[in-house]
């Protein structure tokens, strides 16, 4: 267990370095001149040249990378070339929003996906099971932006129950914060819930076929005990892994959901960063996301071992 942890932690840093190099290289492969994009509508050649010098767009890519890395090691993420705001502050503002949205969406996914998956597995072939499959299909295939706009029209425009978008920091008001996050996390959560549901269902069906379930039944154990004590813990092992990775993905930001509900998270920040060739912003977000994702996969591995006694030796 300890060696596993140490081994994984040792790989973390080189992986992050590799990720940052790849992103840096890929960004530089993009066509288009960032200095021209920055120089305003008139694009005065003098200004364009100054911007090229100032942001070292003319330097060889390895040099640019080294400069960026050196600053990063000193804790400086740099400044956004577009807004002239420090990227460290931008990250500090966005990270809590993204994390909150991810947690709430995961909560929705668990509260919806788990029970439906379990009951669908137990009642295989019943109308409920078909309904659950339908939900799974819909959850996966309905585009988030469409669902988001429909929810806004219903709950904000027609019923007036919920704010149509925007983010209220919990420091300002916890209640309004939760209200503003309700629809976004529902939209994001349903997609994840559908994936969860399908996995729980098949894992549960598999578990219920196992010998120990038959033995338990033969002993006369109550059906609810069989499900909750014997089958479910085993069925959950792959689901935990999946859930952790899904959570990592939610943390990478949800571009469309953020856009529809004007949630200031990572997703739109990185996309706009790419479009305006704001390299430092993209680098910072990707690095953050990669770190979180690696951490989540580490947690998934650990949880897997903890849940599965056979792997503990």
């Amino acid at each position: 267990m300890k060696t596993l942890l140490l081994r994984r932690l040792a790989v973390l840093l080189p992986t992050l370095l590799l990720v940052s190099m790849m992103v840096f290289g890929l960004l530089k492969l993009l066509p288009g001149d960032p200095a021209l994009a920055l120089a305003g509508e008139e694009r005065n050649p003098e200004v364009v040249e100054y911007l090229r010098q100032k942001y070292r767009f003319n330097d060889p890519i390895p040099v640019q990378y080294a400069v960026w890395l050196k600053a990063l090691v000193h804790g400086d993420f740099g400044t956004s070339v577009r807004t002239r705001l420090p990227i460290g502050t931008m990250l500090a503002e966005k990270l809590p929003v993204t994390v909150e949205l991810a947690i709430l969406s995961m909560l929705v996914a668990l509260l919806v996906g788990l029970p439906i998956g379990i009951f669908a597995a137990l009642g295989r072939g019943t109308p409920f099971d078909y309904g659950a499959s339908l939900f799974g299909l819909a959850g996966l295939s309905i585009p988030h932006f469409w669902l988001g706009i429909m929810l806004i029209l219903l709950f904000s425009v027609n019923l007036g129950w919920l704010p149509a978008g925007g983010f209220v920091p919990p420091s300002e008001s916890v209640g309004r914060n939760l209200l503003s996050m309700l629809m976004p996390s529902l939209v994001l959560g349903t997609g994840t819930a559908a994936i969860m549901m399908r996995h729980v269902r098949s894992a549960m069906i598999e578990a219920m076929k196992q010998d120990y379930v038959r033995t338990a039944r033969a002993k006369g154990v109550r059906e609810s005990t069989i499900v909750l004590r014997h089958a479910l813990p085993n069925a959950l092992i792959p689901v935990v892994t999946l859930g952790t990775l899904q959570f990592g993905e939610l943390l990478a930001g949800a571009v469309l959901t953020e856009q529809v509900f004007s949630i200031p998270g990572f997703g739109k920040m990185v996309v706009d960063g790419v479009f305006s060739r704001d390299y430092a912003v993209v680098q910072a977000v990707v690095l953050c996301t990669a770190a979180v994702f690696l951490l989540m996969s580490l947690i998934a591995d650990v949880a897997y071992v903890l849940l599965n006694p056979r792997l503990r030796s």
Binding site: L30, P31, G32, D33, P34, L36, A37, L38, A39, G40, E41, E42, R43, N44, E46, V47, Y50, L51, K54, S80, R82, T83, R84, L85, P86, T89, M90, E93, K94, I149, I152, L153, S156, V157, G160, W161, L162, P163, A164, G165, G166, F167, S173, G175, R176, L179, Q259, V260, F261, S262, P264, K268, M269, D272, F275, S276, R277
Partner: protein, 503 residues
């Protein structure tokens, strides 16, 4: 179960009641996240939109594009047109309490002319020196007579920032700008919101109706409108033409629309590198045939629900210098075909490049279909914006759908696109006669004479047709009826003096 449902609904309703902010805050939805909040550096419309609250300018423009006083109360041109003296408003202070005076004006003009990455250099280029004659009197000496200067000063080039703040916070000024406008900067959460609060020391504070204005970044226009409809925002800018019916049908909303300065036009590469070597690039008759092959009204109707203004000139009809004698020709496919035949061709190939936005894509497809009927084989080449800009600047296109934001004065637009060395003349059109006329017009103080010169210029560029103007976008704001006093100005900015809550 039913009771829980009702209780939940009740809680939600009470809570959402709390959501609506106090009456003295104006919540505005803007389409883009503004760039650097420094008038010397800013290069976006959304940035200018926020500056309308933060930074007053020496002069302003009125809805009919006349120059009106703002920080300067009056001005006087010298007889030779080579200098202008401004009488400044007294008792004006910047948001940090320092005084606005002639020395501050001198500082600002020099700052924008010398800052290495200043985007205002071209607009202020004719100013050779600035003299502070008295605390409230400042003189600009010009290198040559330059009438459009006042129009330039009605935008960012005329915005005055606090010299103290600009010197002390040089590098970080854009993160917390200090100007002399009706509202002062309070906070900015990047890609989320910009909050400004009323500046009690503003010279016209009595007419400032809201205590606070918050600009929320809401990129999607449908969502922006939904939030205004839900009462989550009080006003949203740039409503999509396809959504206007929704605004008109909503009893709680008012649609504010107005003519804009911008123009969308189809540029042909007539002289920039290898891509100019096309039938359309070499032959102005074919370009005239192309103009006859398309129907601007159809483009407007199909792509923009007929809500924009189909027009054949770079200068919008709202300008006093618009040439109303030069009407757009009606579509004439037969004549276009005959002109193509006269040029010894049957099919004329052309590749149109454009930024892959919804609007431009629709325009390009409509042009493709209409021009095809006359004998033009149009290939479409959509490009991601930054890539498109680079190819545009390098003249790497056969034809390009350009979107120019326009200026209050005709000079910057016409010089940029049609003078031989113009900054936007990336398709390399050059006509010395036109250059001479444009040069003469910028020194002509008499409006009637100046108008006659621009009529001549219009004749020349509409005959050469290095660019075919297509339409002028209009401005559309959707606002709650509770927001009063909104006046639309062609630059599409929301001026906040005089705007306030009504019952």
């Amino acid at each position: 179960m039913k009771r829980t449902g009702t209780a939940l609904a009740a809680i939600l309703m009470i809570a959402s009641g709390l959501v609506s902010a106090s009456a003295a805050t104006l919540r505005v939805g803007i389409q883009d996240d503004p760039d650097a909040l420094d008038p010397a550096l800013s290069g976006t419309y959304s940035g200018r939109f926020v500056f309308a609250a933060l930074c007053d300018k020496l002069v302003d423009i009125s809805p009919d594009l006349k120059i009106v006083p703002q920080l300067a109360e009056a001005w006087e041109w010298s007889a030779d047109g080579k200098s202008i003296t401004f009488m400044l408003r007294k008792n004006v202070t910047f948001h940090d309490g320092t005084a606005f005076d002639a020395a501050a004006v001198k500082f600002n003009i020099e700052r924008m002319k010398t800052m290495p990455d200043s985007k205002r250099k071209a607009e202020l280029a004719p100013i050779a020196s600035v003299e502070a004659l008295a605390a409230d009197k400042v003189k600009f000496n010009l290198s040559e007579p330059f009438v459009p200067l006042l129009a330039n000063l009605s935008d960012r080039a005329g915005m005055m920032v606090s010299p103290k703040a600009a010197t002390e916070k040089a590098g970080e000024f854009a993160a917390a700008p200090v100007c002399a406008g009706p509202y002062q900067f309070a906070e900015r959460k990047s890609r989320d919101l910009i909050r400004v609060k009323k500046y009690p020391g503003y010279w016209n504070a009595a007419r400032v109706g809201y205590d606070e204005v918050v600009y929320y970044y809401v990129p999607d226009s449908t969502v922006r409108l939904s939030r205004v409809r839900a009462g989550d925002l009080d006003l949203a800018e740039r409503i999509a033409p396809t959504d206007l019916k929704t605004v008109r049908d909503d009893p709680n909303l008012a649609l504010h629309s107005g003519q804009g300065l911008a123009v969308s036009h189809l540029m042909f590469n007539v002289g920039a590198g290898a891509k100019a070597d096309t039938p359309l690039g070499k032959n102005s008759t074919l370009r005239q045939a192309f103009e006859l092959a398309i129907d601007r009204n159809v483009i407007n109707r199909v792509a923009f629900n007929g809500e924009f203004l189909a027009d054949n000139q770079m200068i919008p009809p709202s300008s006093p210098f618009y040439d109303s004698a030069r009407k757009a020709p009606a579509r004439d496919v037969g004549k276009a075909k005959a002109m193509i035949a006269a040029a010894g061709m049957t099919r004329v190939p052309v590749e149109i490049q454009y930024e892959n936005t919804a609007g431009d894509s629709r325009v390009a497809q409509i042009i493709q279909s209409m021009a095809g009927e006359a004998g033009f084989d149009v290939k479409l080449l959509p490009m991601e914006t930054t890539t498109a800009i680079e190819r545009y600047m390098n003249g790497n296109f056969e034809a390009y759908i350009g979107n120019w934001s326009g200026r209050a004065d005709p000079d910057p637009t016409l010089v940029a696109f049609f003078s031989c060395a113009g900054s936007q003349n990336v398709n390399k059109y050059c006509n010395k006669d036109l250059d001479a006329i444009l040069n003469q017009a910028r020194g002509e103080a008499d409006e009637a004479k100046r108008k006659a010169l621009y009529a001549k210029a219009t004749d020349i560029y509409l005959t050469a047709l290095s660019s075919i103007p297509l339409h002028h976008p209009n401005w559309f704001f959707a606002a709650r009826k509770s927001v009063g006093g909104i006046v639309m100005v062609p630059d599409g900015l929301l001026r906040l003096v005089g705007v306030g809550p009504v019952n």
